[in-house]
């Protein structure tokens, strides 16, 4: 156990985490160069395209250190986005140390800070690494100072590296061996294994990645998951090289995988503890949480007939995405669909994209919203994750919405405009810390609903990319919220209802009604487009009736052509959604998602 080192790499997005991992794998001979695709650890297409690690992975390296001893280094990768904070925390919990990678030209960013806090909470030994020192824009000295301020470490502890140029690997590997403590715990104690990741394999079922804290896990052991108390037989255990390497047993300190004939990935929950069914540990490891979605949205098939296909696709997706939740729902406008819960906006986009790319689903999504607590006058508390389920105005005593604590790191010149944006987004200013004379970390509290929409894009654009952002949920607070309905010829379009702060309702109502006027084609009858709070109309516009649509000629040679054209147009109409007597093109639902506040 003394020769084992379990570590993670934490970094802000694009600071070179994956390239650094590649360098370590290559230089320890864990993979041949031929095997190195750039960014080896990111193996989902989407991840590579977006340059982010969505799911965490792990890989083992052997390293013969300067002291002549061969060490086993387990690199546990972490997802690099705020949507996956809990998963990051579980990956970190499986380690004793972490490389904190900071880009030499970008410096400390919001994610650097928030991930660092997670690592410190997990009591990890931090090894600061400044990456990309070869870049002409590198400011090694000032980044060093930022890190010293942040960690209170000594300058000599900071390693300078360029993963791309393969500079600094030796120092990093030696530091891991010397500074990261070996695992503690005992193989003689009852089994406690932390699941830090799990995914679904269509041949083997759920595969859990585990870190053994105590005890020994052997094949044919009868095991038990604490979270659901289910028992399984360990079919196969082993370590994680480039591929799975079967070792038949794992001992305290080890990192490896477990296959136990688990059919459902929801049984192998990240953060859960595995023990033996008999004579197992009395207590699970600390820190397990049931993952709860933060953002909800309705997903509907473009064609009503594809409802079952969409259900199948979601079921399959759920197999390897344990944080995706969905329940069937019905919308008067969009028909049968699903209310889906996501960890955050990125997660939502990923799910949508995977449904479209991997499962060929054409979907219409509704405006994302958070989960509200509605307290009724009769004392009842209703949890609302769909605006359509909002109780009547008269029944509501108060509404609470989730708040987050946000960390925004930026150059000082952008502070003014960021503060303005924060005010627009109902932000509550808390604190400013200067990381160095030119960079500041702002602390704010925001309603989560203001953040999920377009906050991040706006932040990036007003700071010309020089702002980073991270957040964590801090609880529910009362707000002056109302439900805003959109009506076409007096009929509610349930899929367009939103819950919004009172001060923003008018503006939103005006924007949506004028957008709809643009997108809903003129029809046989005039269409009144209204935005209303309860029965009070706050914005209104009309779509004039269409006055002419008839082909002038229809003689012998035209009949067939005309019929086929009508059939085609009818198909187009079929794809439209109907509310009352008004046909709404699907683009209208999608366009509402693009409206800027």
């Amino acid at each position: 156990m003394n020769t084992i080192r379990n570590f993670s790499i934490i970094a802000h997005i694009d600071h070179g985490k994956s390239t650094l991992a590649d360098m370590l794998l290559e230089k320890t001979g864990s993979v041949s160069e031929r095997e190195i695709k750039s960014q080896l650890l990111d193996d989902m297409d989407l991840e590579r395209e977006r340059g982010i690690t969505i799911k965490s992975h792990a890989i083992q390296m052997k390293y013969k250190a300067g002291d002549g001893i061969e060490y086993t280094l387990n690199l546990i990768d972490t997802p690099g986005h705020v949507d996956f904070t809990y998963e990051v925390s579980r990956s970190l919990a499986a380690c004793e140390g972490a490389l904190l990678v900071v880009d030499a030209s970008q410096g400390v960013e919001a994610q650097t800070i928030s991930n660092l806090y997670l690592a410190l909470e997990a009591n990890l030994e931090i090894i600061p690494v400044i990456n990309k020192i070869d870049l002409p824009s590198a400011h090694v000295e000032s980044v060093k100072n930022q890190i010293i301020d942040l960690l209170g470490c000594d300058e000599s502890e900071i390693i300078l590296a360029s993963a791309k140029e393969r500079i600094g690997y030796k120092e990093i590997l030696e530091a891991i061996v010397k500074r990261v403590p070996p695992p503690t715990g005992s193989s003689a104690k009852p089994l406690q294994a932390l699941i830090f990741d799990s995914f679904f394999d269509s041949y083997r079922g759920a595969i859990a990645y585990v870190r053994i804290f105590n005890g020994e896990l052997k094949e044919k052991d009868e095991i038990k998951f604490f979270a659901n108390n289910k028992t399984f037989l360990a079919e196969e255990v082993g370590i994680l090289g480039l591929r799975r390497i079967r070792t038949k047993s794992l001992r305290a300190g080890d990192v490896g995988y477990l296959i136990a004939g688990v059919k459902d990935v929801h049984d192998t929950k990240v953060g859960d503890t595995v023990t033996h069914a008999r004579n197992g540990a009395k207590e699970p490891l600390k820190g397990y949480q049931e993952i709860k979605p933060m953002v909800y949205s309705g997903l509907y098939p473009s064609n009503a007939e594809d409802y079952e296909d969409l259900r199948d696709a979601l079921d399959k997706l759920k197999l390897n995405d344990s944080s995706l939740v969905f329940t069937p729902e019905t919308s008067a406008a969009l028909g049968f669909g699903f209310r889906c819960g996501f960890l955050g906006m990125l997660h939502m986009e990923i799910v949508q994209e995977r449904l479209e790319r991997e499962y060929n689903q054409n979907i219409v999504t509704t405006l994302p919203n958070v989960e509200y607590f509605v307290f009724k006058k009769n004392g009842e508390k209703v949890v609302v994750d769909n605006p359509a389920d909002m109780p009547e105005l008269g029944e509501i005593e108060r509404i609470e919405e989730p708040y987050i604590k946000a960390q925004i790191v930026t150059l000082s010149e952008f502070i003014g405009s960021i503060m303005k944006l924060a005010t627009e987004k109902r932000g509550i200013y808390k604190n400013t810390n200067y990381i160095d004379p030119t960079r500041a970390s702002l602390e704010y509290e925001f309603p989560l609903s203001e953040i999920i929409f377009d906050f991040y894009d706006k932040l990036k654009s007003i700071s010309r990319g020089y702002a980073s952002f991270d957040y964590e949920l801090i609880g529910y607070r009362q707000s002056d919220l109302i439900k805003l309905d959109i009506l076409l010829n007096g009929e509610k379009v349930d899929a367009l209802s939103i819950i919004v702060h009172k001060t923003k309702a008018y503006d939103w109502g005006r924007k949506v009604t004028s957008k709809l006027k643009e997108l809903i084609p003129r029809q046989m009858f005039e269409v009144a487009v209204q935005a209303a709070i309860g029965s009070k109309v706050i914005a209104r516009t009309n779509i004039k009736a269409l006055r002419k649509n008839v082909l002038a000629k229809c003689y012998g040679g035209d009949v067939s052509r005309k019929r086929k054209l009508l059939e085609k147009q009818k198909q187009g109409k079929k794809r439209m959604k109907q509310v009352g007597n008004v046909q709404i093109p699907q683009e209208a639902f999608l366009a509402v998602l693009q409206i800027e506040e």
Partner: protein, 377 residues
């Protein structure tokens, strides 16, 4: 014997107008071979149909049929008469372009058997005619109609096009006034159709020509219906107006969903629920007829549903949808499925229901395609 309408496509033009997408060639090189082939085609269909069908109408369309020598047209009528029984009265229409005929030629056509002329005036405004690249001017157009009447043609029709670029309400009104002052019994007034593949379409795509909005088009259209109706020309189809008894019997065959036989390149036929079309190429047409006896490019047998769709479409576009006739042909389902919409159409003055017949109002004709899209079949 069942009635048959015969359409004959004469694929020759002096030149191609920018808006036209009908098949034609601008050389007369293959004229003789065309007429020989046409006779072969008549032979082919006579063998198949002459026992059960007799001819009620003949329509020479094109192309520019009036470009042909009258005796050539006469020979075709005679040839048809030899092979098929003719009904009485028999309507024989010739599409005639101003500038291609003189009094003598008109008389010769009359003598050859033509008893109805459809004159392709398009506009009585010289700027419009230039835009449309027609070969005639407005004076020639007026004179042609008058000379036709002088030659003894009572059943006279003119074609007009509206919603042309820069066409004011006033200018169009003038067109209608000139047309109704002439000795014509029938007027076809078309809103300009921009067909794909035409020179006009290319001009629009390049931004060189702009077409007015559909609202303006609607305005001109309703103006047309109101004016012509007041002048005694009843609307009996989206774009067609006639004095009582002068509706084009040939076109009514199309709209009443009756059988018609199309001869010549690009012609369409519809007989007993089967539709086919000829090659749209003169050389190919001539070749096919010398080897295969017909020039059919493709054919389709309509399903019951397709026939229902076409029947409803054509009826609504023309004299109205006879619900008794519909039930007899296709059963009661359609009526039941569309009850709500039919009621709404009536309430909003898009249609009137009289004696179990749904007839569109002017406002309804203007939205005919939109209405059709809303029916359930």
């Amino acid at each position: 014997m069942r009635e048959l309408a015969v359409y004959i496509h004469i694929p020759f033009c002096d030149h191609k107008c920018i808006y036209c997408d009908f098949y034609s060639v601008t050389t007369l090189r293959n004229k003789t071979r065309f007429f020989e082939a046409l006779k072969k085609e008549i032979d082919f269909y006579a063998r198949k149909l002459a026992n059960s069908y007799s001819v009620s109408t003949i329509f020479f369309g094109g192309g520019t049929p009036s470009l042909m020598e009258p005796h050539l047209i006469g020979e075709i009528i005679e040839y048809l008469n030899k092979k098929f029984n003719f009904n009485s009265p028999l309507e024989i229409t010739l599409e005639t372009n101003p500038g291609t005929v003189n009094p003598n030629k008109l008389k010769a056509f009359k003598k050859a058997g033509i008893n109805r002329l459809s004159v392709g005036v398009q506009s009585f405004d010289d700027d419009d005619l230039k835009f449309l690249t027609r070969i005639h001017d407005s004076r020639t157009a007026v004179r042609t109609v008058k000379k036709a009447a002088d030659a003894g043609f009572e059943n006279l029709s003119v074609d007009l096009i509206f919603n042309l670029p820069n066409q004011t309400i006033k200018k169009w009104q003038k067109n209608l006034e000139i047309a109704t002052a002439l000795p014509v019994k029938h007027i076809s007034a078309y809103s300009l159709i921009v067909e794909s593949g035409t020179a006009l379409k290319a001009l629009i795509n390049k931004g060189k020509v702009q077409i007015a909005s559909t609202d303006y088009d609607a305005k001109l259209y309703l103006q047309t219906i109101e004016y012509l109706t007041n002048k005694g020309f009843a609307q009996y189809e989206v774009s067609n107006f006639a004095k009582k008894g002068f509706e084009c019997r040939h076109n009514l065959f199309y709209w009443r969903y009756k059988d018609y036989l199309g001869l010549g390149p690009s012609a369409h036929s519809f007989i007993e629920g089967k539709r086919w079309l000829n090659y749209s190429n003169l050389t190919k047409y001539v070749e096919e007829l010398s080897s295969n006896f017909n020039a059919i490019k493709s054919s389709e047998t309509l399903t019951e549903k397709e026939m229902l769709e076409e029947f409803v479409m054509l009826s609504l576009r023309s004299e109205g949808l006879d619900l008794n006739l519909l039930s007899g042909k296709f059963g009661e389902d359609w009526k039941a499925n569309n009850k709500g919409l039919l009621k709404k159409l009536e309430e909003n003055n898009f249609a009137r229901v009289e004696k179990n017949k749904i007839k569109l109002t002017p406002k309804g004709y203007a939205l005919c395609d939109e209405i059709l899209l809303n029916f359930k079949f």
